[in-house]
C-alpha cells in the first residue's frame, strides 16, 4: 500500500490531489465521493455580495477555454452560515479561498474566517481580472509583501498565498510572500487572455479579458513551480493543466507538495478521484512507498540551467 499522504505546514492531507478554487463545489458530491480528496477548496469569496461579470463568461479557444466569472457570491457571512456547513459534511481539510480589494479588507476577512471549521485560508491575491491595486496584488513584490504582512498579522490560521502567473518574475513575488508569512504558495492562478470574435469584431467574453484554463498551461506553470520551489522553504502547490496522474507526479518531481485541479474536473466530473486511483497504481507499479519521496526528486543536478533561470526571471 502506497502512502499518498502529504503534510503542508501543519495540515495533513490524505493525498496530494485537491480541486482548484473556482472549479469545484460541494455539489460535486452528486458525482464523486468527496471524502477521497486531499482537500476541499471552496470558490473564492468576497466580503460583500457580488453578481459577478456579464455573460458570456466562457469561450472556447484553440488551446483551452478562457473564462471570466467575476467572483460572484453572497458575501462572507452567508459563506460562514450556509456554505461552510455544506463542506463540513465531508472529512478532508477545508480550505476557504478569499479575495479582497484592499489589504485592510483581506486582513479583516481573514480575521472573520479564522474559525475552527476552516482549516486553511487560501488568499487569492491573484484574481486575473482584478488589477494590481484592486485585488491582484501578486503582480508586484511590494503589493504582495504588504498584503501578506497585513494578513499574517490578522490570523493564526494557516495561510496559503495564491500567486499570479502574469507577474514578470514570479520567483521574487513568491519569496516576498514567504518572507511576509505565507505558510504555503499556490502556483498559479489563470493566465490573462483575450479572444476576439471575427464574425462581429467583439470580444468573446462579457468582461473582455478572461483567464486561460488548459492542459497547455502545464509546462509553463511546471517551470514556475520548479523555479519557486528552489528558492523558498514553504511548500508549493502546483495548479495548471493537471489532467492525469503523471501530471501530479511531474509537479511533485518539480518540487510541489500537492496539486490543484480545475479544467480536468470540468471535462470529466470523475477526474479527481480517477487521478487519485491512478496515482496509487502508478506508485505501486514503481515500488514507490511514500509519495513524498517524489517531491523535488527531478534528476537535473548534472544539467546547466542558469541561462534558463536568468532569462525567465528577467535578470
Amino acid at each position: 500500500m502506497v502512502d499518498l499522504s502529504i503534510r503542508i505546514g501543519d495540515v495533513d492531507l490524505a493525498n496530494p490531489v485537491m480541486p482548484a478554487s473556482g472549479a469545484f463545489s460541494w455539489e460535486y458530491a452528486d458525482v464523486i465521493d468527496l471524502n477521497r480528496l486531499g482537500g476541499l477548496v471552496a470558490k473564492t469569496i468576497c466580503k460583500e455580495p457580488r453578481n459577478g461579470n456579464p455573460t458570456p463568461r466562457m469561450a472556447e479557444t484553440e488551446a483551452g477555454i478562457i473564462q471570466s466569472i467575476g467572483l460572484p457570491g453572497k458575501g462572507v457571512y452567508y459563506f460562514l452560515d450556509n456554505i461552510v456547513p455544506e463542506y463540513k459534511k465531508f472529512t478532508p481539510p477545508f480550505i476557504a479561498s478569499i479575495s479582497a480589494e484592499t489589504a485592510d479588507e483581506f486582513a479583516e476577512m481573514c480575521s472573520i474566517l479564522s474559525v475552527p471549521e476552516i482549516d486553511v485560508l487560501e488568499v487569492n491575491i491573484s484574481c486575473p481580472t482584478r488589477n494590481a491595486t484592486g485585488g491582484n496584488f501578486s503582480l508586484h513584490e511590494e503589493h504582495t509583501a504588504k498584503v501578506m504582512r497585513d494578513i499574517r498579522a490578522a490570523t493564526d490560521h494557516p495561510v496559503w498565498a495564491k500567486l499570479s502567473p502574469n507577474a514578470g518574475d514570479i520567483v521574487s513575488i513568491a519569496v516576498a510572500a514567504e518572507e511576509a508569512g505565507a505558510d504555503a504558495l499556490v502556483i498559479a492562478n489563470t493566465f490573462l487572455s483575450l479572444k476576439i470574435r471575427t464574425d462581429n469584431f467583439r470580444p468573446a467574453l462579457g468582461n473582455k479579458f478572461g483567464g486561460l484554463v488548459s492542459p497547455a498551461l502545464k509546462p509553463i506553470v511546471l517551470r514556475m513551480v520548479y523555479q519557486v520551489a528552489k528558492e523558498v522553504t514553504v511548500p508549493v502547490i502546483g495548479i495548471g493543466g493537471v489532467t492525469k496522474a503523471e501530471d501530479v507526479v511531474e509537479y511533485m518531481l518539480a518540487g510541489a507538495h500537492g496539486v490543484g485541479i480545475g479544467y480536468a474536473g470540468f471535462r470529466n466530473p470523475t477526474a479527481l478521484t480517477a487521478i487519485i486511483d491512478d496515482l496509487q497504481e502508478w506508485c505501486e507499479a514503481r515500488g514507490i512507498e511514500r509519495i513524498t519521496d517524489l517531491i523535488g526528486a527531478v534528476r537535473d543536478d548534472d544539467m546547466e540551467t542558469d541561462t534558463l533561470v536568468a532569462a525567465s526571471a528577467g535578470v
Binding site: 473556482g22 472549479a23 469545484f24 463545489s25 455539489e27 460535486y28 458530491a29 452528486d30 458525482v31 464523486i32 465521493d33 470558490k43 453578481n51 459577478g52 455573460t55 458570456p56 463568461r57 466562457m58 472556447e60 479557444t61 484553440e62 488551446a63 483551452g64 477555454i65 473564462q67 466569472i69 460572484p72 488548459s214 492542459p215 489532467t243 492525469k244 496522474a245 503523471e246 479544467y263 480536468a264 474536473g265 470540468f266 471535462r267 470529466n268 466530473p269 470523475t270 477526474a271 478521484t273 480517477a274 487521478i275 486511483d277 491512478d278
Partner: protein
C-alpha cells in the same frame, strides 16, 4: 522513452455498460454509452440513440446530460455540451437525443457511428414538474426546442394529463415530433414561418382559444424567446402558471463554476441563477428572455 500516448492524455473513470458502478447511489455520473443509431430526421436534425447504463436512465423529463463530443475537425473540443433528453426508454435501456448540427460540438456528435462509444455526464439539473391539479397543459415549442418538451409530454400522459401541443418551425419539413405528440394523444397544432402562421399574433390567438376552452391549466415552452415572452404575458394576464426550459453555455454543469448564469426577475428584483443547477427548467414568470 517517453511514457505519454494519446490514450493517456486524460484520466477518466466513467461507468461503462455492463461494468460495476462505483457510485450506485449518486444522483449523477459519468457514463460511456454505446451508439445504437445516429440518423438524420430531416435536413438539419439528427436523432442519437444510445444504450445507457441503468443509473443514466433515472433521468427525468427536462433534465439534461453534459456530452463529451468528439472532434469534428481534429482540434480539441474543450468543453462538454449540455443537451436535454428527447426520450428515456427505461425498459429498452436507451436514451435519445434530438439535435441540430450547428456548432463544433454537435458537428462532432453527428460523426458518431453505431457501435461507437459516447461519454455523457448526468442526469443533471431540475426538470419539469406537474402539479396534481393540472388536467390540461399547453406545450409550445419551436425548432429543436420541441425535443426538450417531448419527455414532458410522456410524463403528462403517464399522469393522465391532456396535452395541447403547438409546434413551430421555419418550414413544414422542420416540424419535428408531430407524430410523437400525435401518438401520445395530444391535440397537435402546427405553425410555420413559410406561410406566416408562426407569427406571434396567430400563436396568441391559438393560445387564447385554448384558454377559453379550459385547456390551459399550465404553460410549457422551449426554443423561442418571442414565444416565451408571449406565454409569460398571457400567463400573467390569465393567472396560468408556466415553466420554460432554457439553455446557456456551460462548463462544469454541477453548479460549481457559475459560467451558465442567466438573469431572472424574482419579487421585482433581477437575480442571476445557474441554468445547470437552479434550472434548466424555470418559472416562466421569472424569465426575462434573452
Amino acid at each position: 522513452m517517453q511514457d505519454f500516448t494519446a490514450s493517456d492524455k486524460y484520466t477518466a473513470a466513467p461507468v461503462r455498460l455492463g461494468e460495476p458502478d462505483p457510485y450506485p447511489d449518486r444522483v449523477a455520473g459519468e457514463f460511456v454509452c454505446r451508439v445504437v443509431s445516429n440518423d438524420l430526421v430531416n435536413e438539419s436534425n439528427r436523432l442519437l440513440v444510445l444504450d445507457a447504463p441503468e443509473r443514466a436512465l433515472r433521468a427525468k423529463a427536462g433534465q439534461f446530460f453534459h456530452l463529451l463530443c468528439p472532434t469534428p475537425d481534429g482540434a480539441e473540443v474543450w468543453m462538454r455540451r449540455p443537451m436535454s433528453i428527447y426520450r428515456i426508454d427505461r425498459a429498452g435501456g436507451r436514451l435519445e437525443f434530438l439535435y441540430k448540427c450547428e456548432g463544433r460540438g454537435t458537428l462532432g456528435m453527428s460523426m458518431l457511428e453505431p457501435g461507437g462509444e459516447f461519454n455523457i455526464a448526468g442526469p443533471l439539473g431540475i426538470g419539469f414538474s406537474l402539479e396534481p391539479g393540472w388536467k390540461n397543459i399547453v406545450v409550445l415549442g419551436r425548432g429543436v426546442g420541441l425535443a426538450t418538451l417531448a419527455p414532458l409530454s410522456q410524463l403528462a400522459v403517464e399522469h393522465d394529463v391532456k396535452i395541447a401541443a403547438i409546434l413551430s418551425a421555419r418550414t413544414p419539413e422542420l416540424l419535428m415530433s408531430r407524430d410523437f405528440f400525435a401518438e401520445l394523444g395530444a391535440e397537435v397544432m402546427t405553425v410555420v414561418d413559410s406561410d406566416g402562421s408562426s407569427a406571434v399574433e396567430n400563436v396568441e390567438a391559438i393560445l387564447e382559444g385554448l384558454i377559453a376552452d379550459g385547456k390551459a391549466d399550465a404553460f410549457f415552452t422551449c426554443g423561442s424567446n418571442r414565444l416565451l415572452m408571449l406565454m409569460k404575458r398571457l400567463g400573467a394576464a390569465h393567472g396560468i402558471p408556466g415553466q420554460v426550459a432554457m439553455e446557456q453555455l456551460m462548463c462544469c454543469a454541477l453548479g460549481a463554476c457559475y459560467i451558465c448564469v442567466r438573469t431572472f426577475e424574482v419579487d421585482g428584483k433581477r437575480v442571476l441563477k445557474r441554468v445547470c443547477r437552479e434550472g434548466p427548467v424555470f418559472d416562466i414568470q421569472e424569465a426575462v428572455g434573452w
